[in-house]
Every structure is written in C-alpha cells, then in structure tokens.
Amino acid sequence: MTMDRIDKIIDKYLDEEGVLIQLLLEIQRDFNWIPKEAIKRINERLKIPVSQIYRVASFYTGLSLKPIGRHLVRVCAGTACYVRGGPRVLDSVERILEVKSGETTDDLKFTLETVNCLGCCALGPVIEIDGQYHGKLTPASVEKLLSGYD
C-alpha cells in the first residue's frame, strides 16, 4: 500500500535528471514526511545514492525525516512578524502545546515548526495551520485558535 503510493510518485520522475528535490517534496506532501521505505525505493529505482537522498532531505526545512502530527502548526519567525511580537506568539504556542519548535506532541496531534516567512508579512504575527493562514495574532488569540483543533 505504502509502496504503491511511493512507486506511483517515483513513476512520474523516471526519465528526468535533477528531480530528487521535486520528488522528495511530493513524497513529503503525500505522507507529511519522508519515510525510510521511500528513501530505499528511490535508491533502488533511480540509482541515487542513499547518502545523497539523506543529505538533501536533511538540508531543507521543507523536508522532514520524522513523522509529523495530524496538524502542522507553522509559526512565522520572519523579521516582520518578529518585530510585531512573533516571539511571544511562539512562546505561547510552545507553552500551550508543551512542545518546542521542531517537535510533535505525544498524542501525535500537533507538530510545531517555525518558518522564515509565510509571505503575509503585512498581517504579522502570522501562523499557518494545515495550510490555512491566520494573521494579526496575539498570545491570547492563538490560544483560542489552537483549541479549535482536534
């Protein structure tokens, strides 16, 4: 089942050069992380060395070698959000979820990440939850926001 899904994605990239990053991004989007099986399979089918796959997967913040929670919370740590109180929003999220940036809650409900900029700087501080953007946040409003997820 998992293998099928992986193979289907790899199929799209068979005859091209320089596809590794694009391929990994698609696997990341499908699985929310890069499973070990995928790395093995890419190595088998595209003959790309495992070390190179690991290297790429660990270099980019958009690729994750650990499974992530049901909801992905990304707090913007960009400059515009920073000067508008982003760090305090991050503090609150960390306190509420009881995890640090880069970690997943024990119940696999939330994964918390920081990102450099979400491109909504005029609305800072901004966070993105499962692809949905939320702007002009305060420590208090973020608490309410997070309580809406299960």
Binding site: E17, G18, V19, L20, I21, Q22, L24, L25, Q52, R55, V56, F59, Y60, T61, G62, L63, C76, A77, G78, T79, A80, C81, Y82, V83, R84, R88, D91, S92, R95, V115, N116, C117, L118, G119, C120, C121, A122, L123, G124, V126, G131, Y133, H134, G135, T138, P139, A140
Partner: protein
C-alpha cells in the same frame, strides 16, 4: 482553443476578447491572494456567489478573482466595476448590501470606503488613498485587473504584445541593446546590470542556454515576488520568453519556494495556457523560435536563493553555493551558460520593450532606473506592498505612504535588504532609495524588504535576530561564515542576556571584517551588515546592555522585569487570572504582587492591565523594588452609593 501562429493572430485574438467585453457590465474584482485569504476572503467570495444566485443575477454580474493590490492590512479588498469603487475590510455580512446597493443601485456605501485616519475623509478612488497616491505602480497595477488564472485577461490588457514586437520587429541583438540602454539593474539584491548579464550568457560558449526566474524570496519579511507571481504570472513569463530570445536560450526554469503554493499553481497554469496558445513551446507565434519552461520548487533554504546554489538545486542536488571563479552566466546549470534574474527584473522587460528604454530611463535616479517594489512592514501604520520610483526618500515611503509609525510611537530605524542589509537610523531618513545611496549607508537595496522599527525595538536584539537567522541558514561550506557567525551569535546572545563584556564590541567588529572578506558567497560576505550598522548607529544601546545591564527598549527578556506598582494597582485580578504560570499573587481588593522567581516575562500582565490603571511596569537596569508588606496590601474601596463606608474585603 486556437493556436496563435502570427502577431496578427494575436492582435485578432485581443480584439475578440475586447469585443466580447461589455465595459458597462457590473463586475466585482476580489483579491484572492494569500494575504486576503488569511483574512477570510474565501467566505466573502462564496457569499457573493450565493447572493448573486439568490437575487437571480447570474450572467448579469461578473466576479473576477484577482491578485494582490498590496494593501493587505486593509483586506479583504474588492473593486466594483465599472465605477471603480474600492471597498476595504469587506465582511460576509456586507455582501448582500453591496450587491443590492452598489452593484444594482449604483450607490456607494460610505462605511466600506477607505477612511483617512487623519482627516476622517473617505476615498472612493485609489488615487485618493494616501497609501496609493504617492506610488507609481507600473508593475503592480495590473494585479487588480487580471484574473491570473486566465491568459485572456492578460492579453486583453495588451499582454504578449512586447513579445510580438521583440520577435518580429527586433533582432535578438536589438532586444539586448534596448535592455542595456534602459539601465535596468537586477531586483534580487545585488543590482547587477541586467543587460550585461544577458550579454555574457549570450556570448558564452555552450548549448543549451538557460534563463531562470528567481522566486526563492528568502528575505524573511518580504513578499513582493509572491504578489507578482500570484497576481500576474504572465508578465513574468513574457519577460522570460523575451530574454530567452535575446540570449538564445531554449529552456527556462522558474524557481519558486514551496511555501508559496498559490504562486506555483498560478504560474503552472500560466505556462500551460501560454503553451496552448503557441506563446511558449515550439515555433512561438510562428517565429521559428522554440522555448520551454519548467517550474522547480525550492524546499526551504535561504542560501538556495544565491545564484550558484540555486543552479545546483536545479540539478537536484543540495543547494549550496560554489566558488564563482567562473560566473554562472557562463557556466551555470549543468555547466551551461545560464542567466538568473529576479521575478521583478523579468516583469520589467515587457514594459521596457513596449515603451522603450528611453521611457524607462526617464524614471528614477542616475544610477537606479525604473520603479522598485517594497514590502513595507513592521511598526508602520500602512503595511503592504508599495511600488515607488527609485529615488523616493525613505521618509516619504514611511510617512506619506506608510502613514507614519503605529500608535504614535517614535521611529527608530528601518531595515532594508533583509538579513544581508542594515538598519538605517532617523538622521538618514531623507536618503533616496537608490542602489548606491543605500550601500553608502552600510545597508543594501536588497530585494525590497523594508521593516520599520520603533522605540520598542531593541537594536542589539535585532542584530542578534539576523545573525541567528544567517547562522542557521549558513550552509557551512566555508569556515569564515560557519564559524564566524557562530561566534558572533554567541557574543550577541551573551550581550542580550546581560552577560556582555567590554571587549565584545571589538570582537564583533573583528568577526565582521573577516566574514565580509573571506566568505565564499554573498550570504557570508554581507552577514555582518546588520551587526555593523547597529554598532555604527546604535552604539549606545550596546553600551547600555553591556555596561548598565539595561535594555533601553525593554525587549531583552533577561534584562527586563515586570513589576506591579502598588500605588496604581486596583486589584482587579485581571493579570492574576491571565498569567500563564501563576506567578501573580493577589485577590480582589488585595494588591497583586509578581513572584519574580516564577515569572517567565511573557508580558501578559503588562498587556491585560486596563489602560486606566497601567499598573504593570517594565524595569530594566535597576533592581525590582521589594514587595509591599502584607498589611499594606488591602485596598480601601469606595462602594458606589455607599460613600465613606470603608474597606470591602
């Protein structure tokens, strides 16, 4: 859909599009870009669709989904045509009124217009809104007029006429010459003359040649490229195709950061549509010129926006810079000649071809021509995208367009150029935005990030922020950048924690010198700018942190304490109830006290204390006063209508 095989096909197609359009037909243009989406525009859009159905107006009113007009702060934003009425902060609840009153009844709803906070006057037209009045929106204006998902909209506005002109009325050399004469300089940060870059790729040996769009937009706090790519992808594509023609490139790449999913989606659609119409692919417009374009998504690394790193990433490898003994314009992707330009650079090309180098050159300053888009953000009243002619002063941008500093606070500095730039202080606010002028001040033009900081921003902390950012983003390939930044971060962390030592400042300066000279790529070479400019212009803040252990802006956590002034506390329990770590002790009518040991300095109490009391103080550089003795903590409160009856406990 018909493939266009000649310039006259294109013209005919344009006429057909325009003929089908009824300029009098009412229409609503809604911004569906990321900014407005964050403010809930999807629901507003849905409710317009429902309302139109409900009122049986299908086919009589058009809804156009457009890109960003830059004033994201006041979104969701809509425009009503043909009257061109602009409404801001539109909510679902306003929708039915807009349909019946404005679209049908032709009546303007005052409360949805932009209101000037200083004069209280409303503005119907964009030209009356100060945020727009002083701009010169050569590139951004069309964002409100086209649906980025429809090539017909772009063509209707004259799109791809520059391409037809370049291909059929000019030789590649003439196109290149025109771009050179326009004196266009790259918008990605370095300000390299675009024509010269094109020329070296054209002259380099090797086939195929590549042209590449850089939409990595790594500067955290900037979103100019996102707005252009989401809002008007064809303008970038047209520029790219013209560039390919001038250079003799047969393949193009568009490198977009994956954090911009809508930009990726709209650009892919644009490519597909251009191919369908024969504006891309084989034998473009019957000219015999072939050119294909692919999108490549960036997986999130600041350094991958650097030219050689980006090209390495295009090859599917880890996007790290490589030494540039040979320029990427000569040996780039797969070692083939490659020209890389920023999104905004490419978007300028159709304008230059259509209106001529002379026209372009007439805008701007001696060394910097044309307009520049900035992402104005931070502590300024009007945040958003502003496009101004080069040469406008920072003061005009921040005060006339930006409407000044939020909450009447005092301006402290403005960061241009993102992490590679520097902070410019008040005494240089009258400097023009111009590549060379900003460099003189120790900053750079950069790609357009412009973060305004006020008296509540700590400059040492900002330097720490940027160095920390760059340190995390350094690829680690070369020692000066990797180790130098690590040391600088350590020192800055020490200073903001109140553990700075006298010689730290000179150490930072030393590190700055080495990283600037000895780093491999521009990330390391420019990394010292935030440090150097803050040291140069805000040395007193460094001194305060190091010598007095004080953060004058009251930002650095380790140097700030929160304290409840017993003389002002009315014991309302608001802070007591809101403190997330239960560090506040008190009850109704008993003056509250913060347990300094437990306090995490989150600042919640400072924020929730009612403005009428303002009892929470922030203290830095001096000891926190001892708590009031227990017996003095009981408030004597006067009961309403029960005057003089003493304490209620």
């Amino acid at each position: 859909m018909k493939r266009l095989r000649s310039p006259s096909d294109l013209e005919q197609f344009r006429k057909d599009i325009l003929n089908k359009k009824d300029p009098e037909r009412p229409a609503i243009a809604i911004c569906v870009s990321t900014g407005c989406e964050a403010l809930g525009v999807k629901n507003v859009l849905k409710s317009f669709q429902e309302e139109i159905e409900k009122q049986n107006l299908q086919g009589k009113i058009d809804i156009k989904e457009t890109g960003c007009l830059g004033f994201c702060e006041k979104g969701p934003r809509i425009v009503i045509y043909p009257e061109e009425v602009y409404y801001f902060k539109v909510k679902v609840a306003d929708v039915s009124e807009i349909v019946s009153k404005t679209l049908i009844g032709k009546e303007v709803i005052e409360k949805l217009l932009y209101t000037d906070p200083t004069t209280g006057k409303t503005a119907r037209r964009l030209s009356e809104v100060p945020f727009y009045k002083y701009q010169n929106r050569l590139l951004l204006d069309d964002n409100a007029k086209v649906n980025p998902k429809k090539i017909e909209d772009y063509i209707g506005l004259g799109g791809y006429s520059a391409l037809a002109k370049a291909f059929f009325q000019m030789t590649p050399d003439q196109v290149l010459d025109e771009v050179k004469k326009s004196k266009l300089r790259g918008r990605g940060g370095g300000g390299f003359p675009t024509g010269r870059k094109w020329e070296s790729t054209r002259d380099a040996v090797g086939e195929p040649k590549y042209v590449i769009v850089n939409c990595d937009e790594g500067d955290p706090g900037a979103f100019m490229n996102r707005a252009l790519m989401e809002g008007n992808p064809h303008s970038i594509l047209e520029g790219l195709i013209i560039g390919a023609y001038a250079i003799g490139a047969s393949e193009g790449f568009i490198y977009v950061r994956q954090e911009y999913p809508l930009a990726v989606e709209n650009m892919q659609l644009a490519i597909d549509q251009a191919e369908e119409y024969g504006l891309l692919g084989k034998d473009i417009l019957g000219s015999g010129f072939d050119f294909i374009v692919k999108i490549h998504k960036g997986a999130g690394a600041f350094v991958s926006g650097e030219s050689s790193a980006l090209m390495t990433a295009l090859e599917g490898k880890v996007g790290e810079p490589r030494p540039k003994y040979v320029h990427t314009s000569e040996k780039g992707v797969w070692d083939k000649p490659s020209t890389l330009n920023n999104v905004e650079t490419w978007a300028n090309i159709p304008l230059i071809i259509n209106k001529g180098a002379k026209w372009f050159e007439s805008i701007g300053t001696e060394g910097s021509k044309g307009t520049k888009i900035f992402a104005l953000a931070g502590k300024v009243n009007n945040t958003g995208l502003v496009e101004v002619p080069m040469g406008m002063t920072l003061r005009d941008i921040i005060y006339k367009i930006g409407g000044g500093i939020q909450k009447g606070k005092k301006f402290k500095g403005v960061q241009t150029g993102g992490p590679s730039g520097g902070v410019i202080p008040e005494q240089y606010l009258d400097s023009p935005v111009d590549f060379d002028e900003l460099t003189k001040l120790g900053s750079i033009m950069g790609s357009g990030g412009m973060i305004v900081m006020d008296e509540d921003t700590c400059m040492v902390d900002m330097a720490r922020y940027f160095v920390n950012f760059l340190c995390d983003e350094s690829c680690g390939k070369c020692v000066p950048c990797r180790e130098g930044l690590k040391q600088a971060r350590k020192i800055l962390k020490r200073i903001v924690a109140g553990k700075g030592e006298e010689e730290d400042v000179s150490k930072l300066q030393e590190i700055a010198e080495v990283t600037s000279i000895a780093s491999l790529c521009a990330l390391g070479q420019t990394a010292a700018n935030p440090m150097l400019t803050t040291l140069r212009y805000f040395n007193d803040e460094y001194e305060a942190h190091i010598k007095e252990k004080k953060c004058p802006a009251l930002v650095c956590k380790e140097l700030v304490s929160y304290y409840i002034d017993p003389a002002k506390c009315r014991a309302c329990t608001l802070c007591f109830r809101n403190c997330p770590v239960d560090a506040i002790e008190g009850e109704r009518n008993k003056i509250h006290i913060i347990d300094q040991e437990k306090c995490t300095k989150c600042g919640t109490c400072f924020e929730v204390c009612p403005p009428a009391f303002r009892a929470v103080d922030r203290i830095s550089g001096e000891p926190v006063p001892a708590p009031v003795p227990e017996e003095q903590r009981f408030l004597k409160r006067e009961k309403k209508g029960n005057k003089g009856k003493g304490a209620v406990d």
